[in-house]
C-alpha cells in the first residue's frame, strides 16, 4: 500500500525557522525554488514564507503545488499543515506555547477553527493583524500569519490536520517594542518537546486516515499500463478500494497479472470478481 504522510510547516521568519530546523533535522533542498524549503526523511517539510498573512498564504500554495507535482493528490493522501511562530498576548508568560483553536482575521472578521483532536496542549484563540499589535486589547494571541496560512491550507487538507502553534514572545509587561530578536530562537528552542510532540501527533492522525485511503501498487501499475478515461480512472480506484475492503488483495494481484485488450475489459473483470 503506497502511503505518504507529510507534515508541512510554515514559518514566517528565518529566526523562527532556525531552531525548528535543528529540532526536526531539516535540511535545505538543494534545488532553486521560489521559497527556502527544508525537508527530512520522515515526511516533514518547512517553508519560510516571509511576514504577513498573504505571504503565508502564498507559501502554503507553493508547497501544496510541490506536493501535487509529486503525485500526492492522486494517492488520496492527506497532508498536515502547521504554522509555528512567535506571538503576543496581554498576560500569558513569555515563552509559553499555545495550540490555537480559533483564528480571527482582524481585517475581514473572518474566523477559522482548527480541529480539536490533539490533546495535551494549552490552547488559545488568536487574532491575525496586519500591523504589530501594541495594545493587547483582547484575551487572544496576536500575530500576523495564521489566517492567511489557514485560508490557504483548508483548500488542501481538512481542519483536523491544520494547526497553528504560537510561542509567546511579548506581553504587556514585556512589550513587543522591546523584544530582543536574538532571543527568539531560544524561546522556540525551549518548546522543543512540544513541537516534537505536535509533529508526532499530527503524523499519528495522518496515519489513521491515510492508511484507509491508501491504494495498492496494482492500482498504479494498471493506471500506467492502460489508457483510462476519467470515469474509468475513478472506477479503477474504487474497485481497488473494494478489493482491499473485502480482503481480496491477493485476487487483485492475480487479476492485475493477466492480459487485457483494454481498460474496459479490465474493469469488467474486476467487477465480476467482486460479485
Amino acid at each position: 500500500m503506497k502511503l505518504t504522510n507529510s507534515v508541512n510547516i510554515v514559518v514566517a521568519h528565518g529566526l523562527e525557522a532556525k531552531p525548528i530546523l535543528s529540532i526536526l533535522g531539516l535540511e535545505k533542498l538543494p534545488e532553486d525554488s521560489a521559497y527556502p524549503v527544508f525537508t527530512n526523511d520522515e515526511g516533514v517539510s518547512l517553508v519560510i514564507s516571509g511576514m504577513g498573512r498573504e505571504a503565508a498564504q502564498q507559501a502554503v500554495n507553493y508547497l501544496a503545488g510541490q506536493e501535487k507535482e509529486q503525485g500526492h493528490d492522486e494517492a488520496g493522501q492527506t497532508s498536515a499543515w502547521l504554522n509555528i511562530g512567535i506571538a503576543g498576548h496581554c498576560s500569558f508568560d513569555v515563552g509559553e506555547g499555545l495550540l490555537i483553536n480559533k483564528i480571527t482575521e482582524q481585517a475581514s472578521g473572518e474566523t477559522f477553527y482548527p480541529g480539536t483532536q490533539l490533546s495535551g496542549y494549552k490552547t488559545a484563540s488568536l487574532i491575525t493583524v496586519d500591523e504589530i499589535e501594541r495594545g493587547y486589547q483582547q484575551d487572544a494571541v496576536y500575530e500576523m500569519e495564521a489566517s492567511g496560512f489557514y485560508r490557504a491550507a483548508q483548500a488542501f487538507s481538512s481542519s483536523e490536520f491544520i494547526q497553528a502553534y504560537k510561542i509567546i514572545s511579548d506581553n504587556r509587561e514585556n512589550h513587543v517594542d522591546h523584544i530582543d530578536l536574538k532571543e527568539i530562537p531560544a524561546m522556540i528552542r525551549a518548546r522543543e518537546r512540544e513541537i516534537v510532540k505536535l509533529v508526532k501527533d499530527l503524523f499519528g492522525l495522518l496515519r489513521q486516515l491515510n492508511s484507509a485511503q491508501g491504494l495498492q501498487h496494482e492500482y498504479y501499475d494498471l493506471k500506467s499500463t492502460f489508457r483510462f478515461s476519467v470515469t474509468q480512472g475513478i472506477q479503477l480506484k474504487r474497485l481497488c478500494q473494494r478489493f482491499n475492503a473485502q480482503g481480496k488483495n491477493q485476487r487483485l494481484e492475480e487479476i492485475a497479472s493477466e492480459n487485457y485488450r483494454s481498460a474496459k475489459q479490465l474493469i469488467a473483470k474486476m467487477n465480476d470478481a467482486l460479485d
Binding site: 484563540s125 481542519s159 460479485d275
Partner: protein, 328 residues
Amino acid sequence: MFSAIYIEEEVAQSERVKNILASYDAVPHIYCQRYGEVFNRKSQSFRAQKAAPALILARKHGNFVLPSPEGYGFDNNPSYYFSHMLNCIYDCRYCFLQGMYRSANYVLFVNYEDFERSLLDVVKKNDGPSVFYSGYDCDSLALEPVSRFGEYFLPFFAANPRAVLEVRTKSTQIRSFLESEPLDNCVIAMSFSPQSASEKWENRVPSIAKRIEALCKLQQAGWKIALRFEPIISANDTVTSYTELFRQIFSKLDGDQIHSASTGLFRMPVDFHKNIVKQYPDEELFSRKTEVKDGMLALKVVDEESQLEKIERSLKEFISVDQYYHCA
C-alpha cells in the same frame, strides 16, 4: 468526553449552558457566532473527528418539529419528529448520519423552551392524538447526563397525554425515566442488531445484555418499551442470528407487554452512501454491491425479502401480529 466545547455567543449566558460548561471546565471552551461556522464548513474529516468529537452548544432557529417521513413509525396518527441534538456519541458503521453531516461533532440545541412551544402548537393543531419521534438525528438518551433531555421533556408529555413520545435509543442512560412516574404516552424504543453484527459495526454501544437489562428495569417500573430491529443487513447467518437475538431478549422481557417491535432493512439516500464511501473506503460493508430501490440505496442481496419474511416469522413467535410493524 469532548475534545472541546464550542458555544454560540447567543446562548453563552443561559443557565443550561453554564451548567454544562461548569461540568467540563478542563476542556477548551471556544466561542462562535453560529454553530454552522464549525459544523457546516467544508474541509472537515468526519472520520478524523469521530475519534475525538467536540460538543457544540447552540440555539435552534425554527423547524423545531417536522412531519416524519412517510412510512416511518408505529402509528397512523399525525406523526412528527424533533431533534434536540445532531449526531450520536456511538459510532455505528452502518449509520446514515455518517453521510448526512460534514462534521462528527455533536450539536446540542439548548433552547428546549422553544421546542416545547412548538410541540404544544402542533398538539393543539391536531384534533386527536399525535406522535412525536425523538432520535432521528441522534441517540435520544446517550448524552442524557449532559443534555437532560428526558428530564426536561417528560413533564411536557405528562401534561399532554394526547401527544405520544417515542424515545429511540441504544443507550442505558435511563435514570430520568426511573426517577419519574411512568407515562402511558411515552415509549422507549431500543435498537438492536444480532451479536455478530453488533460486534462488527456498533462501536461504543452498550452490549446487548446491558440494553436488555435497561429495558427490563423500565418495563418493571411500568414504562412502555419497544424493540427496533434495524438496519437488517444480510449475512450468511442472518436469520439464525436474529432468532438467537430474539430468544435472548424475550428470555428477559415480557413479550405481551411490549408496545411494539419493528424491523427495517438497510436503506439510505444514495448521496449519503457516496459521502460515507469517501470517508470509509476501506469499510467492507460499503464495498458491497448496491442497487437503488424506491429511490433509496440498498445492498444488493438476492433473497432479502425472503430473509425478512423468515425474520418476521421468527419474531412473531414471541409477539403478536398487532405488536409488529415493518418500517419502510
